[in-house]
């Protein structure tokens, strides 16, 4: 009897040696005369347990992790291929049935429904797990109806700005043009975020399906995925998936026998953070330097090559299929206030159990950090958390009870952004973090406006002085802190885009909540 073994091909799993584990298991099985079929699935996102190996049994998959090459022979000794009734159930690495792992079981995986379960590049697997049901429904609807469904679901852009996706699409739909575009923002530059990467590497068809639906909805026949160059694995998976979708008639002309055409191409970015900003991204796609454009005109009206363009984040687009499959209300029933649906949260930094947690909006930071995260990796108290990437505020312990909700975060002068949560233990020096925020802005500034281009450099200089004067209580410190606040004010109010305009978030929040470090 052949036993199916699942070993992730996700790049974080690979970063812990998943390929080597796969080779070792194949060799050991051969040596022992066991018949196994190794499937390279996506990662379930329990990254501290990678490499997580799953064995298929008639009662469901049984998981083991973190598996290293040196553990492989012992797992075979414990007869791990025979399921939990064997000695393997008592093996130190046994995690029991995957679906019963508390961390996973408590989640509400909608966008990530298939991630970790399927073989990412198998179209058959995708379809067998409810794939392309959304497209089927969309093909029977008018563009107006698709857009209305997306609007009614309450989906807001997951790239950071949280703008209602349906409203953006409506603007593009209303434009008359011989060519329109769907652009997927896969530049995922925020530290502490990897949900886009996970979708692209582990369930690429859901993104392809979402973009196809977007194209049909607004009348765009051409799509681009602007993918950060730091994600070579995602590039290969996406290209393989696109080719398979084309061959099966899910992309190209006359999609599934309909009158619709949608062509899709992946374009590689080139390591500029600012190119995640949508207008800079469009410049880059056009083959230019990624200089931010003035708005208006909105990209929805004059976007790529001057044509009406939908620019959406990977997660926004990858959430569309389930909305079209299960209906707007199904999605809108999750969440709180004006934050509808679920957010794929990424737990990162100094955290014991880092990984992907998809939940309805409303969970508090504290629950996330302790019930999911298990506290810090170092075992020390968590002192600060940065939510929303390098332009997000640092939150102190006193704000850990804030629910994850766009408006709740706005009210404490913080942002949810792309859902990255980075924990720091009590060894963090917040003055250093403030300095880094300016440094990052200086490195990544597109240079179009002075407050950002020059302000960030001045910010680094002032922070250097503050750090040098620390604990000396010189009159200079007071002066420099005032200077820093003025500078932040200028950047907040005088920058064209959020790179310069939001660098003050990490800086001022660090100063306000952790004054003892300055």
């Amino acid at each position: 009897m052949t036993t199916k073994i699942y070993i992730p091909r996700d790049s974080s799993a690979l970063s812990m040696g998943a390929d080597k584990v796969a080779v070792a298991i194949a060799q050991e099985a051969k040596k022992r005369g066991k018949e196994v079929e190794i499937i390279r699935n996506g990662s379930r996102g329990l990254y501290w347990l990678e490499t997580m190996v799953e064995v298929s049994t008639d009662k469901g998959r049984v998981a083991y992790g973190p598996v290293k090459v040196k553990d492989v022979s012992a797992l075979f000794d414990a007869d791990f291929l025979s399921g939990l009734s064997s000695n393997a159930g008592a093996h130190a690495l046994s995690l029991g049935y995957t679906e019963e792992i508390d961390w996973l079981k408590k989640q509400q995986r909608l966008t990530f429904a298939r991630v970790g379960i399927t073989d990412p590049v198998s179209l058959e697997d995708y379809i067998a797990h409810d794939g392309y049901k959304g497209l089927k429904n969309a093909l029977a609807l008018s563009g107006d109806d698709i857009v209305r469904t997306v609007t009614d679901s309450g989906l807001r852009g997951r790239g950071g700005a949280a703008f209602p996706t349906g409203i953006k699409w409506k603007t593009v739909l209303a434009c008359e043009a011989e060519q329109k575009y769907i652009v997927c923002n896969a530049d995922e530059g925020d530290s502490g975020t990897f949900s886009d990467r996970m979708i692209m590497e582990n369930d690429p068809f859901v993104l392809i399906e979402g973009m196809t639906i977007a194209g049909i909805a607004v009348g765009a026949t051409c799509g681009y995925i602007y993918l950060r160059s730091e994600y070579p694995h995602a590039l290969h998976v996406l290209n393989e998936a696109i080719e398979k979708a084309e061959q099966a008639g899910y992309l190209g002309e006359k999609i599934r026998g309909s009158g619709h055409t949608f062509q899709l191409e992946v374009r590689r970015a080139a390591g500029a953070y600012v190119c995640g900003e949508e207008t800079s991204l469009l410049e880059s796609l056009e083959g230019k330097r990624g200089m931010v454009r003035f708005k208006p005109p909105l990209p929805a009206i004059e976007g790529l090559f001057g044509k009406p363009t939908v620019v959406n984040n990977v997660i926004s687009l990858a959430t569309v299929p389930i909305i079209l499959d299960k209906g707007a209300q199904y999605y809108a029933d999750y969440g709180m206030g004006r934050s509808r649906g679920t957010l794929p949260i990424q737990l990162a930094g100094n955290i014991k159990h880092g990984g992907l947690v998809e939940l309805a909006f409303g969970i508090t930071l504290r629950e996330l950090l302790y019930e999911y995260g298990g506290g810090s990796a170092t075992g020390k108290p968590i002192r600060a958390v940065q939510v929303g990437g390098p332009l997000g505020a640092f939150l102190p312990e006193s704000q850990f009870d804030t629910p994850l909700d766009y408006e709740a975060f706005t009210s404490i002068w913080a942002v949810l952004g792309h859902g990255g949560v980075v924990a720091f233990d009590d060894t963090v020096d917040m003055a250093k973090m403030a300095r880094y925020a300016f440094e990052f802005c200086a490195i990544e500034s597109c240079g179009k406006c002075t407050p950002c281009r020059i302000g960030s450099i001045r910010g680094v200089e002032v922070m250097d002085k503050i750090i040098a004067d620390k604990n000396k209580q010189t009159p200079n410190t007071v002066k420099n802190i005032k200077l820093l606040r003025d500078l932040s004010d200028t950047m907040l109010n005088g920058s064209l885009c959020a790179l310069g305009g939001m660098t003050p978030y990490p800086v001022l929040s660090a100063m306000n909540h952790f004054p003892e470090d300055f």
Binding site: M16, K288, N350, A377, P390
Partner: protein, 170 residues
């Protein structure tokens, strides 16, 4: 000996010019062709030689200054020949929270180079990077196209030694 080497270099140059023509022909008709073309060149050579700007500019109806501007705008593009392997160390916040600063200091010392420099044996070019999407397993580094997580100084040394030992380009 000298003349043989010179001859080889000349041959390489000639081959490269033909290759560049090929890459240009493959990409010139794409909408927004410049970035895909630059990627193709760097994938092939490891960098984008300044000597290719004029040819690229002509093919895409741009000025040489525009090509130069684009190459220098993007951190990913290099205008100098790198070592056989590229080691990128993540400097971003999540990795900082897990000791990236100590790791980068160690790497610079161990390799005896600063960022954007190449080791004396031409094995490794050290680059900073701002997030590899491996933040749940910080600190992270990337050697060529492979990511590594929870990297200790000892892990880094092992990676470097393994890469240095292989004479071929990854």
């Amino acid at each position: 000996m000298q003349s043989l080497q010179a001859k080889q270099e000349l041959n390489m140059q000639k081959n490269w010019c033909e290759k560049l023509d090929l890459l240009i022909a493959e990409h010139r008709d794409m909408p927004g062709a410049l970035l895909p073309l630059l990627h193709a060149i760097q994938d092939d050579l490891g960098y984008i030689p300044e000597s290719s700007y004029a040819q690229i500019a002509k093919a895409l109806s741009l000025s040489v200054a525009e090509v130069h501007g684009v190459v220098t705008f993007y951190h990913h593009f290099r205008s100098h020949k790198p070592g056989r392997h590229i080691l990128q160390i993540c400097r971003a916040e999540s990795c900082q929270a897990m000791g990236a600063e100590a790791l980068e200091a160690h790497a610079k010392k161990f390799l005896n180079v600063d960022y954007h420099q190449t080791t004396a044996d031409q094995a490794i070019t050290l680059e900073p990077v701002y997030c590899l999407g491996n933040c749940a397993l910080s600190p992270a580094v990337m050697m060529d196209d492979e990511v590594y997580g929870r990297v200790s100084s000892a892990d880094l040394d092992a990676l470097v030694l393994e890469a240095s030992a292989s004479s071929v380009k990854a």
